[in-house]
């Protein structure tokens, strides 16, 4: 019985270490919430906003560290402030939203880098870990905080699913039916900020956008309904973040880039081979036509 699973050893052996168990737990949770929340970003064409919020959390993180407050809280506050400033610039001036995002997130990011570079001279804090992720350096407190955030995010999405679906598909129609779309939008921003904060340790703020967008985008090529996109996307996200963790363990790669490479490859597979939208296998493609006739003959 034991011998039969010998091939699993490379996967199971590292898990005898407590730090690897913590990494696995965080990788699974982050893979799920990034995919669920990222699905909203994708369908609302708000990918750039995900990027903006993720870059904007840095100064909050640095200031919280200086004040001795939980860095998750500082990062979350900075992320929310950045979205408020973006929409303030966008509504109170002729500046378009994408330009407002570019302005705000680069300013926040610059401030964050400056603060952290200054702090890290005297303290044990490594800028690179926040930029590119350090999944193997997850502490028990990180696991607890990530679990709280993941529970909050998933519960909110589950409870507000029908309202958020209506709002993200047809905001005007939702508003005209009497839904408080301003609050729904604010709620989505908070979900995004929470998710980014929870993912900092795993992928880092620069690459978190990939884990937000790619799982949903991959699933979107495979299944037709939003809750299915979220479910399949979660599978893709978990697969990517867990593989990234092992690549990081065995090859000493930074965890963020490792995860992003895996998830990008999964997207590429769906892009080429999806039965419904695949470039090579979708309806209307020559390869797809041959494949289908061949399968029918079997």
């Amino acid at each position: 019985m034991w011998l039969e699973v010998a091939w699993l050893n490379p996967l199971l052996a590292p898990l005898q270490y407590a730090f690897m168990q913590r990494s696995l737990a965080v990788a699974v949770m982050v893979g799920i919430i990034c995919s669920v929340v990222g699905s909203y970003l994708m369908v609302q064409r708000l990918a750039l906003l995900g990027d903006a919020i993720s870059h904007s959390v840095l100064p909050g993180l640095a200031i919280a560290f200086l004040l001795g407050v939980n860095i998750f809280i500082g990062a979350f506050i900075a992320g929310v402030i950045s979205t408020v400033i973006i929409s303030w610039i966008h509504t109170r001036s002729p500046i378009k939203e994408d330009a407002a995002m570019g302005l705000v997130f680069s300013a926040f990011f610059a401030l964050g880098i400056t603060l952290i570079t200054t702090i890290q001279r005297d303290n044990k804090i490594d800028l690179n870990h926040f930029l590119f992720g350090n999944i193997l350096g997850v502490t028990p407190a990180d696991v607890r905080d990530t679990a709280i955030i993941a529970a909050l995010v998933l519960l909110t999405v589950a409870l507000l699913y029908k309202e958020l679906l209506f709002y993200s598909f047809d905001p005007l129609g939702a508003q005209a039916s009497g839904l408080p779309v301003g609050w729904l939008n604010a709620g989505l921003m908070v979900l995004i900020a929470l998710t980014v904060v929870a993912s900092m340790k795993v992928v880092g703020v620069i690459l978190v956008l990939s884990l937000l967008i790619a799982p949903g985008a991959t699933a979107y090529l495979l299944v037709p309904r939003l809750h299915q996109v979220m479910a399949v996307g979660s599978g893709v996200g978990v697969l990517a973040s867990v593989s990234g963790m092992y690549l990081s363990y065995y090859l000493n790669w930074p965890s963020g880039p490792a995860i992003v490479l895996v998830v990008s490859m999964l997207f590429a597979l769906a892009f080429l081979f999806s039965p419904t939208h695949g470039v090579l296998t979708g309806p209307g493609s020559r390869v797809g036509h041959y494949l289908r006739t061949w399968l029918r003959r079997q």
Binding site: K162, E163, S168, D170, L172, A176, S177, L179, Q228, V229
Partner: protein, 246 residues
Amino acid sequence: MAPLAKITVDHLSVRYREVQALRNINLTLRPGKLIGIFGPNGAGKSTLIKAMLGLMPVTTGQVTYGARPLAQQLEQVAYVPQRSQIDWTFPATVWDVVMMGRVKKTGWLHRFSTVSRRLAQQALGRVGMLEFRDRPIGALSGGQQQRVFLARALAQEATVFCFDEPFVGVDQKTEAVLFQIFRELAAAGKIVMVINHDLGESITNFDQLVLLNQELIAAGPREWVLTRDHMTRAYGGHIGFFGHVA
């Protein structure tokens, strides 16, 4: 809401930054009639409906439905936006879209009831789209998509219906279905407003017309609104169509 309440638009003005979009609109919309809102591009037709529903800020004026502001009774309103406002690649099926019409009535934290499902099913049947219920919304033709949105509006059990350019990009069959149901709704005592810009044959389907060009040019029975003078004021001197003009 009393079944025969009317909508009163009182001194409504809207401006975006520097542009005056609507100027001092006064209007009464009664149930039982099919109301067409007409005017050239940029006349403020969509703005009028959005401002009436409180979807955009107004500079001055009130819109009441019965005794209270219309914007406070949106649960009575079914609104179908222009096709161009919708992302048709969104991952949702026909059924998902029709059920959106039941979200507000269902309420927070509740699941859709059997009644809601039955209403959605009936609405889809009424527009002839029941067999498409599991299709992705993006896999339909423009006319089919518009019928699904009509089904969503029907499932809402509203008393006020607003359609923004529902005939753009739809086939003949859909146009017939839409007019048929619009007339049935009006006959059932609903207030039915339809924004249109086609001055062709289909204009004869409307009982009442609202002719708009930033200000109200004319409103009332079709024969009364469609005069040469009104049309020239709305469309300038460049209008070629006068077939139905008295």
